[in-house]
């Protein structure tokens, strides 16, 4: 399948100790790759020492920490999306091997995403990057209220996204987001898709089959594969996603979340890292997103992204208002427990079910949560 370099075991440094890091570590073992995970004090670490990974806690992910880490590993990659971009820029300038690098990590900024994708003729929803009430008012008048107001940086799992019914509400949110926001109309969505792509250091891009995603209060809640949308739309989605990966110039996994409005496909958001919508690739595809991410950042050939089951579904396990969720295993069901302390709204794990068809798979995954 691929040739391992004729040296001692490869070693990947992962900045951030969340569940994405742990799933990378889980994928590293069978590849014969070692991982070192840097966790940050105060963050709840999920990654565990043992197996292919060791975990160390640092005060912060600053330049000296990144440089010291770079000297210990072959390549540094990221579990955390909202990393300190300034530190990454400087570490890269000083010669640290960071994949993805600063230019791709800058795509964590939703304002940059939208502007850069639009500048490269990729279809994005109507939007404005606004810091001024006049601009917000103009946008609301042009596209109609309510509008969606998004924090450019750091928003995830529904945080940093608000539907604002009027200028006053929009400006309150904008102030809370630090004075700058991405605005978009409230689109009449037919569906939401996600395409997980992987890009090598040579610029080769492969895509996983598009999956259907359903959000609940801004959290990606359910994912099903294969998508139920017509083939022409899926072909457009895959083409758009591959082009996005080229524009971002990332190395490793890049998830492209898409809006479907009528027969049109728009890029909603881009995440330059393994993504929740790709978790079902562990059970459903020849090569998981985590294995392919590691292969890509190491400069190894990628594995096949094909579906190897007829259908799969993933349901996130989110902290209930009180107590701990109970999960029930069953045929075709895999429970991924992140071993986090439960808190309302927090992602505590996910359940993947594989089955003969999507309807059965999603029913099966949901049944594990009951």
């Amino acid at each position: 399948m691929f040739t391992k370099p004729s040296r001692s075991r490869a070693k990947i440094g992962i900045v951030g100790g969340g569940q994405l890091a742990q799933m990378m570590v889980d994928a590293a073992g069978p590849l014969g790759v070692d991982c070192a995970v840097l966790d940050r004090a105060g963050d709840e670490s999920v990654a565990r020492s043992g197996g292919a990974g060791s975990v160390r806690t640092v005060e912060r992910f600053d330049v000296p920490t990144l440089m010291a880490f770079a000297s210990e590993v072959d390549v540094i990659t990221f579990d955390h999306e909202p990393v300190d971009l300034g530190a990454v820029i400087e570490a890269a300038e000083r010669g640290a091997t960071l994949r993805p690098g600063p230019a791709a990590l800058a795509f964590s900024d939703k304002a940059h995403q939208r502007s850069a994708l639009a500048a490269n003729s990729l279809p994005v929803p109507p939007f404005a990057v606004a810091s001024d009430p006049d601009a917000v008012d103009l946008f609301g008048s042009e596209h109609g209220w309510p509008i969606v107001v998004k924090a450019p940086i750091g928003g995830y799992d529904g945080r940093g996204v608000t539907v604002a019914a009027d200028l006053g509400t929009a400006m309150d949110e904008l102030g809370r987001f630090g004075g700058r926001a991405v605005l978009e109309p409230l689109l009449p969505l037919r569906a939401e898709l996600s395409v997980v792509t992987v890009r090598t250091i040579d610029g080769e891009v492969v895509a996983y089959p598009p999956v259907d995603t359903r959000q609940d209060q801004g959290i990606c809640h359910e994912v099903t594969a294969p998508s139920s949308l017509p083939d022409p739309i899926l072909r457009v989605a895959a083409t758009i996603a591959e082009r996005v990966a080229e524009v971002v110039g990332s190395v490793g996994v890049l998830a492209v979340e898409l809006f479907v409005v009528g027969d049109e496909v728009f890029v909603n958001e881009v995440a330059p890292r393994p993504h929740n919508s790709g978790h079902l690739t562990i059970e459903a595809c020849a090569t998981s997103q985590f294995e392919n991410h590691l292969r890509a950042v190491l400069g190894w050939p990628l594995g096949s992204t094909s579906l190897v089951v007829p259908a799969a579904a993933m349901v996130n396990v989110v902290g209930p208002d009180s107590g701990q969720p109970t999960l029930t295993a069953g045929p075709g069901i895999t429970i991924h427990d992140y071993e986090k302390s439960p808190r309302p709204g927090r992602k505590l794990g996910h359940v993947t079910a594989v089955a003969e068809d999507v309807t059965t798979a999603i029913a099966s995954a949901r049944s594990a949560l009951r």
Copy 2:
């Protein structure tokens, strides 16, 4: 004083059309330098075409816009602080001359500021960069509630800064800031200082005399020079500020806002651009911050930063709850009207007064607003 390059007139491109851009244009005329200002649609432009400057409106400050602009001018500089860092990284990689460059502009992120300055042994207040309730709770327990919660990106004029009395409030704010914030204790401030520095492309750093600043609801409201603090503190402040300019590696003006607690001086915030606290340099110093910023980004020798008056005071003119403020001129008073439409809390202009002593200067500046 300096030798102009033996070529046609130098031309500086300014991204952003606010009052800082206009004051740069005002400084460019006497230097024989042309300016082109890019304003963004929807932002209220303050910069005017005419004199040394022409103003053009673009849809957004993205990579194609920056590259086209770079081909028209000798160097691009910035009025806007929260620029699209991703676009700046890519434009710099493609060869655009940007001063300051991406590594310095990344210091607009308060989380990066604090981490990078701490890593370089500069005195900063106790802080944490937190995205997790456990980390916020730990910080509050260690330092005592209430704590200050700051948006890492984009906060200015009091937006993006909240005093949180408890964990619930802090997490609400953190969520509104997009899930990540800088935490610091509510410090017992003796005073606040600002030191405006200028760094050349060769790394030479000069500082203006430290000034006293007084905030009102997070807006820098009054500035007086010279500072009333004892000389040993001012020497420490100046040394710290010069070291900050080296660490940031900026080109042009970099303002360093400092907290004084007892006899200790801490870096509060850094702004890699001309700054409100340096506006009085127009009237009070041999060379204004705007002229020195232009000189620095052009690679010209800097002008003297010395005070040329015994004392000066600056008062911001902020939009009242209703109507338009009335300003009265007088001896030693200069009124700077940014010609913005009034809105409550918006900076509409500033008044500078020079006098024999600080007490007279501040009384004189305030009297213009009555």
